[in-house]
């Protein structure tokens, strides 16, 4: 089975700081890491490979600095790595990004695609489902357990707010991983040595051109644009209402809104 994991390099912080003047993320002095959910996806893929055989490929879209994230994935045990990188791809929103990653996936080939649920910097959780749609493969998001895996299908447990779904899904398909799915292994010393002996292949604009909607990539081709980013102001502690049923909670909120003449 050929498993491809999509990963993103993100700043290693839960408190992303924004430059008040430019409205962009302050990245200086913040180390970069593989997004947590994506690392979970790598671990899940490696476990499936151990069980079923085959290979694990990682792909990441980002600047050349994302190389180290891909090396780390190789050092954990992935077989090959692709960096999707080109000037033309810069500034892409989730729609444009998913189109580019889908084009790369067509080029690389896949039986199973695993991604993280969402990235800690953007927190959209949109890229993976859009990849699934663009490749027209079935998808399950919020996967917390792979219960059965064969070359033809996988059976997964999808987390839900108040329960879970057990879903059998035909391959090729796409899964998005949440933290419960697996605990990522460490890189190994030998893995790191070998990661730097392998090649991280780059897929640029020319490599993917044929598969792309050319007016839907990069900043220009992105249907959404960030208007303004700002750091949330803390406005005092909130009120916590505990142990209410859904109906009671709704009523409590309505009462509050009415009391403040908001509705």
């Amino acid at each position: 089975m050929k498993i491809v994991v999509c990963i993103k390099q993100v700043p290693d912080t839960v408190e992303v700081k924004i430059d008040p003047k430019t409205g962009t993320l302050i990245r200086d002095g913040v180390p970069s890491i593989i997004n947590h959910d994506d690392k979970t996806g790598i671990e899940a893929a490696l476990q499936l490979k151990e069980q079923l055989g085959g290979t694990v490929t990682v792909e990441s879209m980002g600047p050349p600095q994302a190389d180290i994230a891909l090396r780390e994935a190789l050092a954990m045990g992935c077989d090959e790595a692709y960096l999707v990188s080109a000037r033309e791809f810069g500034g892409s929103d989730t729609y444009a990004t998913s189109g580019i990653l889908a084009a790369a996936l067509k080029k690389i080939g896949y039986d199973l695609i695993i991604t993280g649920r969402q990235a800690i910097d953007g927190d959209t959780a949109q890229v993976a489902p859009q990849i699934g749609e663009k490749l027209q493969v079935p998808q399950v998001s919020y996967v917390e357990e792979v219960q059965e895996a064969t070359e033809e299908y996988v059976v997964v447990k999808r987390q839900f707010e108040d329960g879970y779904h057990i879903i059998k899904i035909k391959t090729p398909c796409l899964l998005t991983a949440i933290a419960e799915l697996a605990t990522p292994r460490y890189m190994s010393v030998k893995g790191i040595v070998e990661a730097y002996e392998k090649e991280v292949k780059t897929l640029g604009f020319e490599d993917l051109k044929a598969e792309l909607e050319l007016d839907m990539i990069g900043l220009k081709g992105s249907p959404t644009n960030v208007y303004q980013s700002f750091t949330k102001e803390v406005k005092g502690a909130g009120t916590i209402l505990k142990d209410l049923s859904a109906e009671e909670a709704v009523q409590a909120i309505i009462d509050k809104l009415e009391a403040k003449f908001i509705i």
Binding site: E72, Y186, V189, K190, A195
Partner: protein, 379 residues
Amino acid sequence: MDFKLTKTQVLQQELFRKFAETEIKPIAKDMDESEEYDQGLVAKLQKAGMFGIPYSREYGGQGADVLTYTLAMEEVSKVDASTGITLSVHTSLCCPCINEFGSEAQKQEFLRPLVDGHKVGCFGLTEPGAGTDASGVRTEALKDGDDYIINGTKIFTTNSGFADTFIVFALTDKTLGPKGMSAFILDRTMPGITVGENIERMGIRAASNCEVAYENVRVPASRLLGKEGQGYKIAMTALAGGRIGIGAQSVGIAQGAIDEAMKYVKERKQFGKTINKFQNTQFKLAECQTKVDAARLMVWRAATAKDNHENFAPLAAMCKLFGSEVANEVTRVCVQLLGGYGYCREYPVERAMRDAKITEIYEGTSEAMKMIISGAMKV
């Protein structure tokens, strides 16, 4: 001259740091208190490849260099010096004897499981009557047909409480003194080996360090390393390399103490301000960091010389002499900066100060280092 680590080394350092913070730091205090090394941690270290760092992949090792090994020693020793010595005795005392003096068959049979993470090794040279003066060794290996029969007692054998493979030095010819010493590869399971209780110590209390008695242990001649009479040379060669590891361990202990002190002085308030605002605190920490950086560069120099197959022995002795003194001085300063809390077991600098002392003693005392350095200087 380039003082930068390579990309590979930087990623290795990140692995060691994360592993140390996540797997070792949370249990280091408990291991010290219980004076017992966590065997679950041994398994995790093995899985990450920490027991075979500078060994060829041809023999199942990790294929990294000696410099990378010093990075591992520093990172683990920052949070737990006992883990440092556990890795060090295995990696830079036991394994080199086989790697550098073993036959191809011995490497396949004995080195492979040590460096691929299946077995742990130890090194038995020191005896109750033979410390710095290794000519005091009394353990004997008498030829009996195709075997040797080993009798004697070794002391302070690190890792012996759980190690699988023992490198043991014994006299095959008593009349020749050190030149009659030979080295053997033994298995823990061999009849006649008795490992005593963990010796109660001031520091590195989690490490396993016991007396080992060898009573009529029958060892096939195929387990003799090199030739008869080469034992002293084998031991000295291993110890020369081992000192790079102890230098790195010393740097780690000192840097770990500085890191803890840095956190503390930014929080602790006296006389209306945090104590990092006092010049005494600033200058003390500046002095400490300068010394640690100097010691680290000496360790890297010795490691690079060994990687390049240059004459590293005097450089290794220097980095150990200087590094161990820095570790003692810096941990003492850091305890002082934390004041009464620094003296409490709740804070890790107390353990660091106790752990630091041994670095001036084992794998060659500071005095022995000065003998080596002055000898190389031809004073």
